[in-house]
């Protein structure tokens, strides 16, 4: 087995390119030989992964922990749904329009909290999430209140409605590929280095001329711009939204936990974390659904085990293995 792993020599750039191209192709043709159940699981995984990458850009790199990240999911879902329901605006366009309120919210939260300690940011994100949830419940004539907004299933691609699961798979798959590309460029570029520097030591970073406030704001805006379209997708794919399903504190915490288990502040961390935890969660839901809440207990245990044995996430174990492979 070790010989086989060494023989792979996956650290070379050449082979890595082939592996990435193969992976992209594999997931692109997957709907041709997959049942709808598998595609639904993958759609859920991709949505979570996009949210996790979005979370990672602000919280993983700068270490300003967002615990209310699904606020952007909710804004995306409600903005496009309301625009479609009230004004007949296509959710494709609604998806773009929803970026404006998300950006504005990211700027407001950033301006209020980025000068303070990271804990204030974490608490503010939770508070804003709850405020948005309550607003969605309160303004029932616009949002549908606790009943939410329900779509009638139909096939209308112009308005982002499909009867089959495959088109949804391709939409979220393209969104995922774009997100991964953005995340890769940030990680390898100067913005990623700047954000890591701020996360490592903000005082040292401003002492070498980094405008920490501006960089954190930029990171948070990018993060919001990535997460918001997932909300529109979610609304169209599920067919209905209620405040509790999109302005969801549990989902926000889950995204953060996945990022930390995979390896916060790294390009691969969210990808690894999502592909480990979402299948585990689904298996728990299938086989242990009668034990309500057990998945959260297992999440907590996994987080504790990772924090104790791999405080930098599973990615640190993989990197260690690759270094070992290179050495021998």
């Amino acid at each position: 087995m070790l010989k086989l792993l060494r023989g792979l020599n996956i650290s070379t750039k050449y082979n890595r390119g082939y592996l990435i191209a193969l992976a992209i192709l594999f997931f692109a043709i997957l709907p041709l030989f997959s049942d709808p159940g598998t595609l639904r699981l993958l759609i859920l995984t991709y949505m979570t992964l996009i949210l996790c990458i979005s979370w990672n850009i602000i919280s993983g790199y700068t270490v300003f922990l967002s615990l209310g990240h699904s606020m952007f999911l909710g804004i995306g879902a409600y903005t496009s749904a309301i625009l479609y329901e009230k004004y007949g605006i296509s959710p494709w366009i609604g998806m773009i329009i929803s970026l404006a309120p998300s950006t504005l919210l990211a700027i407001i939260i950033g301006l209020l909290t980025f000068r303070l300690h990271g804990a204030f940011f974490a608490l503010t994100t939770i508070a804003i999430l709850q405020i948005l949830r309550l607003l969605a419940l309160h303004f029932a004539d616009i949002t549908g209140g606790s009943l939410g907004i329900i779509y009638t299933p139909k096939n209308d691609p112009y308005n982002f409605f499909f009867l089959e699961v495959t088109p949804y798979y391709y939409v979220i798959y393209i969104m995922l590929l774009i997100t991964i590309y953005i995340s890769y460029r940030i990680d390898r570029g100067f913005l990623g280095k700047r954000l890591k520097a701020i996360g490592d030591d903000e005082i040292a970073s401003v002492s070498i001329g980094i405008d920490a406030m501006k960089s954190k704001l930029l990171a948070f805006i990018i993060s919001a711009l990535i997460a918001t379209p997932v909300g529109t997708f979610y609304a169209q794919y599920i067919g209905y939204i209620i405040p509790d399903s999109v302005f969801d504190l549990g989902l926000s915490i889950k995204v953060a936990v996945i990022g930390m288990i995979g390896g916060a502040g790294t390009f691969l961390g969210p990808i690894i974390g999502t592909f480990i935890l979402i299948p585990i969660e689904q298996l728990l839901t299938i086989y242990l659904s009668s034990y309500y809440g057990l998945n959260l207990v297992i999440y907590g245990l996994l987080l504790m085990i990772t924090m104790i044995f791999l405080p930098k996430g599973v990615i640190s174990f993989i990197e260690g293995f690759l270094r070992w492979q290179k050495k021998y």
Binding site: K193, R194, A197, D200, A204, S205, V206, S207, I208, G209
Partner: protein
């Protein structure tokens, strides 16, 4: 052009009930190496933090190249040419040695005329870290981390470089190497403000020393004058 590159005028800094700086007025001349010394808790590092903008003063004024920078944020001061190192090195641990310098070079207001990685390599060569460029900073010892701190500050073409207790805990050979680097930096036209706890290192590289005690300037002069000053002796011995 004024002879002084930096003037602090009656700077006061309080932390709750503790007054760390009690009206400190000093000046740093262009291209000089000025030493600041004083016993523990005398306000040396607080002074650097106030000049670099990490702390805002409660009162007083800081003027750099004729411009009042008292309330300028630290990143702007760095871009104006006021750089500093830290008593306990503060590297960016998730970046490699060279990326620590590259990220700093990226903020150089004049830009970098050559490839940014080549420029970073040159700076690391200057401080003697060229063998470690691609290593994570966790592979460096304290002496190397202090040199990395220097390279990172030099990347912004400083006009005034404040160096905080760089030889504390180093052996004589390392201290000598640091002295040579500092003198070389000064030959490039950079004014230096060296903060140290004790006098031997300052006496080797500085012509003028200012002594702080309990947040006040208590003496100023050549190393010999300062060393023989009874007020200074009393402040150290008690």
């Amino acid at each position: 052009m004024a002879e002084e590159i930096l003037i602090t005028n009656n700077v006061v800094k309080r932390f709750g009930g503790l007054t760390a700086l009690r009206g400190v007025s000093i000046s740093v001349k262009r291209k000089e190496i000025l030493g600041i010394m004083g016993p523990n808790g005398s306000g040396k590092t607080t002074l650097i933090n106030v000049i670099s903008g990490i702390y805002m003063p409660d009162s007083g004024k800081i003027v750099f190249e004729g411009v009042d920078i008292t309330y300028e944020p630290p990143h702007k001061r760095a871009k104006m040419g006021i750089l500093r190192t830290f008593q306990i090195p503060r590297p960016f641990r998730r970046l490699s040695v060279i990326d620590n310098v590259v990220i700093s070079l990226k903020n150089n207001p004049k830009g970098v005329s050559k490839n940014i990685y080549d420029a970073a390599k040159e700076l690391l060569e200057f401080v003697g870290l060229d063998r470690y460029i691609n290593l994570p900073v966790s592979h460096l010892n304290t002496f190397m981390l202090r040199k990395l701190d220097l390279a990172r500050a030099l990347a912004l073409s400083p006009k005034l470089l404040m160096i905080d207790e760089i030889v504390a805990g180093l052996v004589e050979a390392e201290s000598l190497e640091i002295s040579k680097i500092i003198e070389e930096i000064n030959r490039l036209g950079v004014a230096l403000l060296l903060v140290e706890h004790t006098i031997p290192f300052l006496a080797r590289v500085c012509k003028r020393i200012i002594v702080l005690n309990e947040g006040k300037v208590i003496a100023e002069g050549s190393p010999e004058e300062v060393m023989s000053n009874p007020v200074v002796i009393t402040s150290y011995i008690g």
